[in-house]
């Protein structure tokens, strides 16, 4: 009995702290950036905030941004470790920014390490940088917020306003590996004039690389609605007439209250076609031309909006097909439900050629508290 106690307590007390990872002994990395390096290597940029302790709450903060050349992300991490005190740990990373050039190659090798190690934060936002990720991380904004908070704030705002899908490392993983399904990632850009970082549309991916083609920022809301995704607010501002002299009078702004999206895929022989139907129930939030109390005006506006949005949807589809980015996973559905058709087709070649007909139907339900 005595021996047992001795053995147990020795086991516990001597070996226990083996895999201890003291929080105070690590350097937190909240933002990571990857860029194309020379000779197929990568450049990793990390931003490490260090906060001095003061008697009341967190004190002044200093941020260290380090870039290193390396062969792989893990190698880069070792190299970063050599130049900072303690070791760095990306377990609480908030944003991963990938440079345009690196993304055009293939993003999976860069992200592999995140999926392999269970300590990593798979909730981290993923974003593309127009130009270099290093520049985004080095960006010195006037606002006192941390760069990680700044970027993740932009991305979350974009999701809330129905501009982006809110892709994080976890969600991207499945789409990255699955053939016949593609995705899009928000694009960030530095606006030198106003000295801010800006959301700049959605970068379209084909399988595991960035195609170099974007959905522009002002069309992303419709792009999201076409995917059947709606954030907290989905606001569309469209020009509906040329009648008025005052330019502002020609525009209407609507909030989407309810949205329904349906994709019908037809596959016969060697032709695949798809019908995309998007039903939008909207509330008018801005329309200086007014007269919405009359049902004729409303009807007219409904029709006009439907027309405009359908046309825009066609444009978006054209961009997607040009990029060969199969966001709707039509390829997978064809493979699943019409395997004989899929066998005949080389899907990667076929997708840009298939016919996708969008039909956006807008119905105004509310027009605010004035008539």
């Amino acid at each position: 009995m005595k021996k047992l106690i001795l053995v147990l307590s020795t086991l516990l007390l001597l070996t226990g702290c083996w895999d201890e990872r003291q929080f105070k002994n690590i350097k937190l990395v909240l933002t990571l950036g990857y860029d194309q390096g020379e000779n197929g290597g990568i450049i990793e940029t990390v931003s490490i905030p260090t906060i001095q302790r003061s008697s009341e709450g967190p004190g002044p903060e200093s941020v260290q941004v380090i870039s290193t050349d390396a062969v792989t992300p893990r190698d880069a991490r070792d190299k970063v470790d050599q130049s900072i005190s303690n070791t760095f740990d990306p377990a609480k990373v908030k944003v991963v920014v990938i440079g345009e050039d690196l993304a055009k190659e293939n993003i999976y090798p860069t992200l592999d390490e995140f999926y392999r190690n269970p300590n990593n934060n798979l909730n981290a936002h993923l974003a593309l940088a127009r130009g270099k990720a290093e520049d985004i991380l080095n960006f010195n904004s006037q606002s006192p917020t941390r760069i990680s908070d700044y970027i993740s704030g932009i991305l979350e705002g974009a999701v809330a306003a129905t501009h982006a899908t809110g892709e994080n490392l976890q969600l991207v993983c499945a789409e990255l590996i699955e053939p016949g399904e593609d995705f899009s990632i928000p694009m960030l850009k530095i606006d030198e004039e106003q000295s801010v970082i800006k959301f700049d549309g959605m970068g379209l991916f084909h399988e595991d690389h960035y195609t170099g083609i974007d959905i522009p920022a002002d069309q992303t809301t419709l792009f999201m609605l076409m995917q059947g995704k709606k954030g907290r607010v989905a606001r569309l501002t469209k020009k509906v007439s040329d009648k008025h002299e005052n330019e502002q009078m020609n525009y209407v702004t609507v909030n989407v209250m309810n949205q329904k999206q349906k994709l019908k895929i037809k596959a016969e022989g060697e032709t695949v076609s798809a019908d995309l139907k998007v039903d939008l129930k909207v509330r008018v939030v801005e329309y200086p031309a007014d007269h919405l109390a009359e049902s004729a005006t409303v009807k007219e506006l409904n029709q006009k909006l439907s027309e405009i949005l359908t046309k825009e949807a066609e444009e978006i589809i054209k961009i997607m097909q040009e990029a060969n980015s199969d966001i709707w996973a039509i390829g997978r559905q064809v493979k699943a439900y019409h395997p004989e058709v899929h066998k005949k087709l080389d899907w990667i070649e076929a997708y840009p050629e298939i016919e996708i007909t969008p039909n956006v139907d807008v119905e105004i339900l509310q027009h605010g508290i004035i008539n």
Partner: protein
């Protein structure tokens, strides 16, 4: 008639005064007719103790003996000398309220109980008078079990008063009190109280057997009794409920449990008890049941906080900082960044400091105790953080833990909780979350295994009995608790009959036809049971 009846049918033993304890087993020393021989014998037996007072009366032919330390002089005057002075009785030995014996050993026990004895030369008769003095404090509310609403009296050091407080609350012929004399040298009076016909006789029997087995010189307090008769002395959990509140004792008696009272201590032991009994307070039953439930849930949550919070914090900062929410990462990091010691040391230091402050506060008189609280809590707490010895988060964690441990209505369990924190801290500091899981597992297994007088300690959760959960995590309205909990092993299970039938009657619109005084059970066809009222 009585004489003939007794001669033919009755037993032929002589009727005797009822003694609290059986005196027949005691050794007999027949008194002598010679006064001096009796006095010599008594003096020798008492080793010529100085406070044995001997008053020689009738010119050396009679003597009155008593312990002046046990006897109320006024009562002596009132009971013995006054009747003589007034001329009601001629001789002290003829006083009607005296109790007579011919056994000197019996005289010794009564002397020790505070009686005075009177002996005359030429007679073997010893007259005993009850003139005991007793010093009682008033039955004030116990300081460690205060309630907001409800009765504000408490047990005192005198067992008779305590039993009185219980009998006043249960006017029932089935309330049974059994006296024991425990402690070979101290002869402490201990009473076992239970409600006959409700309490399980087997448990009563078991308690009695275990009490009779006690062979110690001294039974100093209920804590002694507890350790002699409880099932598992090596368990950290108390297996008998300690209370100083008559209402709590009575409620438990009514559930079919047994109370053990000790002379000289206001604490009553309740057995068999379960884990959840320690979380019930008299207050719960005096509030609205929603509030009662809410408070009960908070108390039970405090159990987890009290034993698990420091361990959880240590595991998080030492092993799994991924679980810290994103927005908290920077504040947490900044507060622990420059602390010299590992979190497990921090926690140990802070927990020990809190215990020091608490222990110091208890022993010191009230005004100094407060000063200690302020110095310890505020000054040390603040300074320790400013000096960078302990992170301010750890101070928050340990303070919360200490508060949570004081929430338990029973001081017994509260100390247990504070002790259980330590193994969990060590486990968390060495193995992280895995350690905490193992620790809780051990505690849970132990709780499920533990028994108190043959009753599972962790019931009604393990073994699960959903019906009895009515008064554990939640407190349902009282009329819904119609059955006694199974864990008390009560042989009469029904506690509350249908008591709210009036509501049904109101709904059906049937007029209430009770004519006052004549017939109380008019609604017989509706199976309205008025049995409880006519009992």
């Amino acid at each position: 008639m009585g004489f003939w009846k007794r001669l033919f049918f009755g037993d032929h033993t002589k009727l005797e005064d009822r003694q609290p304890n059986d005196t027949k087993k005691e050794p007999k020393q027949p008194s002598s007719a010679k006064l001096s021989a009796n006095i010599d014998y008594l003096m020798n037996e008492f080793n010529r103790t100085s406070d044995l007072k001997i008053r020689i009366l009738k010119k050396g032919n009679a003597a009155l003996l008593y312990f002046e330390s046990l006897v109320d002089q006024e009562k002596v005057q009132e009971a013995i000398f006054k009747p003589i002075e007034l001329g009601d009785v001629e001789d002290i030995s003829n006083l009607p309220h005296s109790k007579e014996t011919l056994n000197l050993e019996e005289a010794i026990t009564t002397l020790l109980r505070g009686h005075a004895i009177y002996m005359e030369d030429g007679s073997r008769k010893i007259s005993q008078f009850k003139v005991t003095s007793s010093f009682n404090r008033s039955p004030e509310e116990p300081a460690n079990e205060k309630v907001v609403r409800g009765s504000h009296d408490g047990f005192v050091e005198n067992m008779m008063i305590n039993i009185n407080l219980i009998r006043k609350r249960i006017e029932n012929r089935d309330l049974n009190v059994k006296y024991f004399k425990l402690g070979k040298k101290t002869n402490t009076n201990v009473a076992v109280i239970y409600l006959d016909g409700v309490a399980d006789p087997e448990i009563v029997q078991q308690i009695e057997t275990r009490m009779k087995d006690i062979s110690a010189d001294m039974i100093h307090s209920p804590g002694y009794v507890e350790e002699f008769i409880e099932d598992q002395t090596f368990s950290p959990f108390p297996q008998m409920l300690n209370t100083e509140r008559p209402d709590r004792a009575v409620a438990n008696l009514m559930e079919g449990r047994v109370a053990i009272l000790t002379e000289g201590s206001p604490t009553t032991l309740i057995a068999p008890s379960t884990f959840f009994m320690f979380y019930q307070a008299s207050d719960d039953y005096n509030m609205r049941w929603y509030t009662g439930t809410f408070v009960r849930l908070i108390r039970l949550a405090s159990f987890i906080i009290a034993i698990g919070l420091p361990a959880f914090y240590i595991a998080v900062v030492g092993f799994h900082f991924e679980v810290i929410p994103d927005d908290l990462v920077i504040p947490v990091k900044s507060s622990i960044n420059e602390i010299a010691y590992p979190p497990i040391m921090e926690a140990f230091v802070m927990v020990v400091i809190i215990e020091l402050i608490r222990e110091a506060g208890i022993r010191l008189p009230q005004p100094i105790g407060q000063t200690i609280g302020i110095v310890g809590g505020l000054v040390i707490g603040d300074a320790v953080v400013r000096a960078g010895l302990v992170s301010n988060l750890m101070v928050i964690v340990v303070a919360l833990t200490a508060i949570a441990s004081f929430v338990v209505p029973s001081n017994e369990l509260s100390t247990t909780l504070r002790l259980l924190t330590f193994p969990l801290i060590i486990l968390a500091g060495t193995l992280g979350f895995v350690g905490i899981v193992f620790g809780f597992l051990f505690i849970l297994i132990h709780l499920s295994r533990l028994e108190s007088f043959g009753v599972p300690y962790f019931s009604p959760v393990s073994p699960l009995r959903i019906k009895d959960l009515k008064d554990t995590f939640i407190r349902v309205p009282l009329y819904k608790m119609n059955e006694r909990p199974k864990d008390s092993h009560a042989i009469q299970t029904e506690a509350v009959g249908p008591s709210r039938e009036w509501k049904k009657r109101e709904k059906t619109g049937k007029p209430q036809t009770i004519e006052s005084g004549t017939n109380q059970t008019t609604g017989g066809d509706q199976s309205v049971s008025s049995d409880s009222s006519s009992e």
